[in-house]
Structure formats: structure tokens, C-alpha cells
């Protein structure tokens, strides 16, 4: 009995942390925050999808992608295209020279809906595209790069270049993509108005629920043999290869999974915010997404969620009250995270709060056996 409890209590502790996060997202925030703030938190949570994906591919797999904004953006644009088509029915756009196409196309003298917009009339196609478009792009990039054993720094630079390319392309092809303004003025989803407070609250719960599901999925992946191979690959790639594993395929898989998560996040972002623009695609947002993950702790799935929430809340707070200071704070955060606490909040927690928690849990364990419970209770109240 004395040798096994470490593993079983670790499992139960993991579950406990997960339940705490679930309670925070599903009970505490909705009760404490007004509709506007809750919508903001919902927006932050969509970034948490990307951060969870980054924990999988960067923290565990050792693949740093600086192009997660690309997948976030693609998911978001797929959803935005569907919503835009719904918002530009022939009746609603009767004043345009070509009714029935999105308004920005009309302004740019496009007279026919381009072919790649056509399938987005269908909601089920859109839902598939939100996941599959990012996955297919990730598959192409991943197969091309990992099969040739390109990794590390080179991979980071090339994904960054891809983020730059997509941004320039979206801004340049104004008639087809809405240009720098993006796709705006989205109104309804299958006839359901997404702009009201009630709808935003519903969307918040959808986002939080999906995020928790994605965290569970990611945990399942990491708990499986595949997760252990990922970590082994990160630390000793050659040894894993010599043991007969196809390293490239595992990398492609985890990169695609991260892309799928980002795509889902992007689609939910579009739904909650009501528009999508290239400013969420490019190099700067992509690197910011990496910092969400780094602040939370690159090895911790739950840490990534907290990281996304905290950094974004700080960003909103700073840019509301001291816009000048925000870039300084963000820059200092990058440097501090890398130099002082590379394992982020999760690492700090494990180092400083875990021993305390162990004491409490240990104390409780003792308390169950011995009658004196007073010291344990005292400790529980202190943090």
C-alpha cells in the first residue's frame, strides 16, 4: 500500500486540477462576470485551444511552430465565410450591383462568387472545413519538412514565413478575402442571431465545454504510448529512430493535431467576436500564441489554459489603462519567461505550491488515521 499511492494520488490530483478548471470556467466566471467580461473571457479561451495544441507539439514534441496563427486564422476564416454568406442573402444585399455576394466583393468589382466560396453555403461542410483545412495544410508542411528531417530552428523560421505569406495574400486579394479589414458584419448562424448577450453567453459555454473536451483529448493522447514516444523523441530523437519508430509520422500527427485544435479555436473566435481579420493570422499573433503557452508552462495542458487567460487579461488591462507600457510588459514577459522560469506558471506551482499541497494532503491522510485534525485544517486555510 505504501509503494503505489504516489501513482494513484497523482492521477487523482490531475483529475482534481481538471475539476478546478472546469468549475472555474463553467461556474465561477459565469456567476461573477457580466456579459461583456464573460465574452472577453470566451475570446481568451479560444486562444487557449492554440496554447493546448502548442503544449502537445512544442512542450511534448519539441516542435516549435511559429505559424499557429495560420491555422487559427484558417479555422476562423472558414467559419467567417459561412456566416458572411448567410449575412449576404440576395434580399439583404439588394442595393448592391450584384446582389447575393458579400459586400466587400461588390466594392471590389467582383461580380461572381469565387469557386472556393461556393461550398461554404453548407454548414456541415463548414464544420468539416474548420478542422480539415488547417489539418491538410499542416499535413503538407509536416510531411514535406519532417520526412526530410528538418526540425528545430529551421522549422520555426519556415512556419513563420508561411504566416507572413498567408497574411500578405489575404491583404492583397481584397476582393476575395476582405483584405486588411477582414470579413466583418457577421450576423446570424443558421438564423440564430449571434450578436446579442444571450447568444454570447451560450457561445461562451460552448467554447468552455469544447475546450475542456479538447484538454481531455490531449491528456488522453499524452497518457497513451504515443505521448511517451513524443517525449522520448523530443529528448533523444536519434535513439527513438534507431529503436525502429517512424519519428517523422509521429511529428506529423502531433503537428496536425495542434493545427486542428487551433482551427477549432479560430472558428469559435469568429463566432464570439463577430469578425475575422488578417491581424489574427500573421507573425506577431502567432508568436504571441507561443508566449501564452510558455507563460502557462510549456509542459502543462492546464497551465496553457491559465497562461492564455492571464496573458490576455493582462493585455486587455494594460491596453485599457497604460497602452504605452503594454509592449514593454510583453517584451519583459518574453525575456523573463525564458530566462527566469522556463516552465511557466505550472513550473512555479510545482516548485513552490506543490510541497505545501503535499503537506496538506499528507496531513489529511494522517488526519484520517489519527484523531487530531486541527493542524491540517489550519494549513488548508493559509494559501
Amino acid at each position: 500500500m505504501k509503494t503505489t499511492p504516489s501513482a494513484s494520488s497523482l492521477m487523482s490530483r490531475e483529475n482534481l486540477y481538471f475539476l478546478v478548471l472546469a468549475a472555474l470556467l463553467l461556474l465561477v466566471f459565469p456567476v461573477l462576470l457580466d456579459a461583456f467580461r464573460l465574452n472577453l473571457v470566451g475570446k481568451y479561451l479560444t486562444y487557449a485551444f492554440v496554447a493546448v495544441g502548442l503544449v502537445l507539439c512544442w512542450g511534448k514534441g519539441g516542435i516549435l511552430s511559429l505559424g499557429q496563427g495560420v491555422f487559427f486564422g484558417l479555422g476562423g476564416y472558414c467559419m467567417a465565410m459561412f456566416l458572411k454568406l448567410e449575412a449576404s442573402s440576395p434580399e439583404a444585399t439588394a442595393s448592391q450591383s450584384t446582389p447575393g455576394i458579400p459586400d466587400f466583393m461588390d466594392w471590389n468589382q467582383v461580380t461572381e462568387l469565387p469557386w472556393f466560396w461556393q461550398p461554404f453555403h453548407s454548414f456541415s461542410f463548414t464544420l468539416i472545413a474548420v478542422v480539415m483545412v488547417p489539418v491538410i495544410l499542416a499535413l503538407i508542411i509536416g510531411v514535406a519538412m519532417f520526412k526530410r528531417r528538418v526540425g528545430g530552428v529551421y522549422f520555426a523560421i519556415i512556419t513563420q514565413a508561411i504566416a507572413a505569406i498567408l497574411t500578405i495574400l489575404i491583404i492583397g486579394q481584397q476582393g476575395f478575402t476582405g483584405g486588411a479589414n477582414g470579413i466583418t458584419d457577421l450576423r446570424t448562424l443558421m438564423g440564430w442571431d449571434i450578436r446579442g448577450n444571450e447568444a454570447k453567453t451560450v457561445l461562451y459555454f460552448v467554447t468552455a465545454g469544447l475546450l475542456l473536451a479538447c484538454v481531455l483529448l490531449a491528456r488522453h493522447v499524452l497518457g497513451s504510448k504515443l505521448g511517451r514516444i513524443l517525449v522520448a523523441m523530443r529528448d533523444q530523437e536519434d535513439r527513438v529512430r534507431f529503436s525502429g519508430y517512424d519519428v517523422a509520422s509521429f511529428k506529423v500527427f502531433v503537428f496536425c493535431l495542434a493545427a486542428a485544435l487551433s482551427g477549432i479555436g479560430g472558428a469559435l473566435f469568429t463566432l464570439q467576436v463577430g469578425f475575422m481579420s488578417p491581424s489574427f493570422v500573421g507573425i506577431v499573433p502567432s508568436i504571441e500564441m507561443v508566449i501564452f503557452c510558455a507563460v502557462g508552462g510549456r509542459h502543462s495542458l492546464l497551465g496553457a489554459v491559465y497562461g492564455a487567460l492571464l496573458v490576455n487579461a493582462a493585455k486587455t488591462g494594460f491596453s485599457e489603462s497604460f497602452p504605452e507600457l503594454w509592449l514593454y510588459a510583453m517584451g519583459a514577459l518574453f525575456i523573463a519567461v525564458v530566462l527566469a522560469f522556463p516552465n511557466g506558471i505550472a513550473g512555479l506551482y510545482q516548485r513552490y505550491l506543490m510541497p505545501l499541497e503535499k503537506k496538506i494532503l499528507g496531513g489529511l491522510g494522517k488526519a484520517a488515521r489519527t484523531p487530531s485534525t486541527a493542524p491540517a485544517r489550519q494549513m488548508e486555510e493559509t494559501p
Binding site: M145, R149, A161, G172, I283, A294, V337
Partner: protein, 308 residues
């Protein structure tokens, strides 16, 4: 797309765009040389390289202001003084950054990327606080203005020519320093085998610091040259950083010759296409081709054939 132009017109378009491409080429080479030294030789990804360049550009701007107000008679030669000061300013900042930050991160290359990105955010905001968000420019001395008419249709601007000469001189100096001097030999020894270099008595910490400072200093010179053909804003550096990294990777990170060749290819392709397509499409096509080639040939154009 060629059908609308007559043959001599096409020729002169190519010549003019080729020359415009050469100005872009000069900036690429100066930026990429510094980066090739830092990234190719040391393996450090310096995302703040563009900000070091902008520091050089602002130094030039300040020097120009000083000459204009204090000694207008000597305004004609301010550029050469500014170039020197830009080098010193960027190199000193580089040395400080290496000492404070980079030297703790040599074994974690991906983390240098994040830390230097943070540095670039801080520098950008600092420039914005000091110089304002608006772009600043310098006025060129008289002898640098105007252009040389080669034929009726082809004209070559003098400032572009000077930038090119500066590039050539700097590239030659870097080559001599890296491959023909004792110090360059030390740098290459440290790159190839750090423990062994230490064993034969090379102070690797010092070599690292000076190498990093040199790379940043060259970025400063690039900034000085940049003021000749464009205006400077707090975020101008960020526009070039991705292109520059691609130039270095495309050329093969360890090869200086490869860096120059790839800078030439990329800048020429971009500026020639710019005339016929929109600017953004030209850039997208160029970057796509480069990324495509890198996916097929990850080691870049000129790979060093060494066993690792």
C-alpha cells in the same frame, strides 16, 4: 503579360527593375550578413536583428541632424561618419544584450528566439517613445541626389549606387575578417568544436560576445544604408526580419557566399515581378517559391559539406 510592351521597352524595364532590385539586394545582404554571422556561425536566432538595424538608421538620422545644425559645411560627408557611429551603437548594444541575455541561452536555441522577440518588442516601444511613431527621413547631400542616365530609358539613381558600393566594401571586409584573419579562424574553430577550441586556449566567451557584437554592428550599417532609400519608423525593422531569415536559410546558413547569392536571387525575383504583378503578389510568389525550394532542399543553396 509581356505582350503590351515592345522589345526595347521590355529590356529597359528589366534593367530599371534590376537596378531597383539591386538596392533591395544591398539591404538584404547587409542585414543577412549580420544574421548569417549570428545565426549561421553561433546558432542564435536573433529576432531583434531588425531593431538593431533601425538603431543604426536612427543613429544616422541623429548624426544628419547634428551635421545640419552644427557644421553644415561638412554635410556632404555626414553619411560616412553616421555609418561608423551606427556600427558602434549597434555593436555596443549587441555586446550588452549578449552579456545580459544571450550567453545564458546558447544551449536552448528556440528560447533565444522568444527572448530576442521580447527584446524587439521593448526596443520598438522605446523607439516609439523617443522618436515618435511617425517615420523620419534624412535629406541627402546634393552630390548623392539625381541619377545617371545610361540610355534614354534607363536611369540609375546615385544614392542606390552608393548603397551598393557600401555593401560591396562591407561584404569584402566581413569575408577578410572571417576567412583571412586570426580572429576569424578563432570564430570558426569555436563554431566547429567548442570544447576543443577551449582546450587550445581560445576564450570562447569573448569570441561569442565579439561575434554577436559584429553581427549587430553590421545590422547597424545596414540601417545607415537603409536611410538612403527609405524612411525609418519604429516598426520598419520587423518588416524585413522574415525576409532576411529566409535569405540566410535559403543560402545555406553556414555559407557567406550562399547568403549573397540567395539575397541576389530573392531581391531580383521580387523586384522584377513587382513591375508586372501587384507588389503583394510578387512578394507572395517569391516567398512561396523560396519556401517550396526549402522544403525540397532544406540545407539551402550552398551547403557546407562537413560531417557532423
Amino acid at each position: 503579360m509581356f505582350a503590351d510592351y515592345s522589345m526595347p521597352e521590355l529590356m529597359s524595364i528589366f534593367a530599371m527593375q534590376g537596378f531597383a532590385g539591386l538596392s533591395l539586394f544591398s539591404i538584404f545582404v547587409l542585414m543577412a550578413l549580420g544574421l548569417a554571422i549570428i545565426f549561421g556561425q553561433m546558432g542564435v536566432i536573433n529576432m531583434a536583428h531588425g531593431e538593431f538595424m533601425i538603431l543604426g538608421a536612427y543613429t544616422t538620422y541623429l548624426t544628419a541632424g547634428l551635421f545640419e545644425n552644427v557644421m553644415p559645411g561638412l554635410y556632404g560627408i555626414y553619411f560616412f561618419v553616421a555609418m561608423f557611429l551606427a556600427f558602434i551603437a549597434s555593436a555596443l548594444l549587441g555586446m550588452l544584450v549578449e552579456w545580459l541575455m544571450i550567453r545564458h541561452l546558447y544551449h536552448r536555441p528556440l528560447d533565444t528566439l522568444l527572448a530576442t522577440w521580447g527584446l524587439s518588442l521593448i526596443l520598438q516601444q522605446a523607439y516609439r517613445s523617443i522618436f515618435g511613431a511617425r517615420e523620419v527621413g534624412v535629406s541627402l547631400p546634393d552630390w548623392m541626389m539625381g541619377s545617371i542616365a545610361v540610355t534614354d530609358l534607363v536611369e540609375i539613381p546615385i544614392n542606390g549606387l552608393i548603397v551598393m558600393v557600401v555593401t560591396l566594401v562591407i561584404a569584402t571586409l566581413v569575408y577578410l575578417l572571417m576567412f583571412r584573419s586570426g580572429w576569424g579562424r578563432q570564430v570558426r574553430a569555436v563554431v566547429q568544436n567548442r570544447p576543443m577550441a577551449e582546450a587550445v586556449g581560445i576564450d570562447t566567451g569573448k569570441v561569442d560576445r565579439i561575434t554577436f557584437a559584429l553581427g549587430c554592428g553590421i545590422a547597424g550599417v545596414a540601417g545607415a544604408a537603409f536611410t538612403m532609400i527609405g524612411s525609418t519608423g519604429p516598426t520598419s525593422g520587423q518588416l524585413y526580419i522574415v525576409d532576411t531569415f529566409l535569405v540566410v536559410v535559403f543560402g545555406g546558413a553556414q555559407s557567406l557566399l550562399g547568403t549573397i547569392a540567395s539575397a541576389f536571387t530573392i531581391s531580383q525575383a521580387q523586384s522584377t515581378m513587382e513591375f508586372f504583378l501587384s507588389g503583394s503578389m510578387a512578394k507572395v510568389l517569391t516567398l512561396l517559391v523560396v519556401v517550396g525550394i526549402l522544403m525540397l532542399r532544406p540545407q539551402g543553396l550552398f551547403a557546407l559539406k562537413v560531417r557532423r
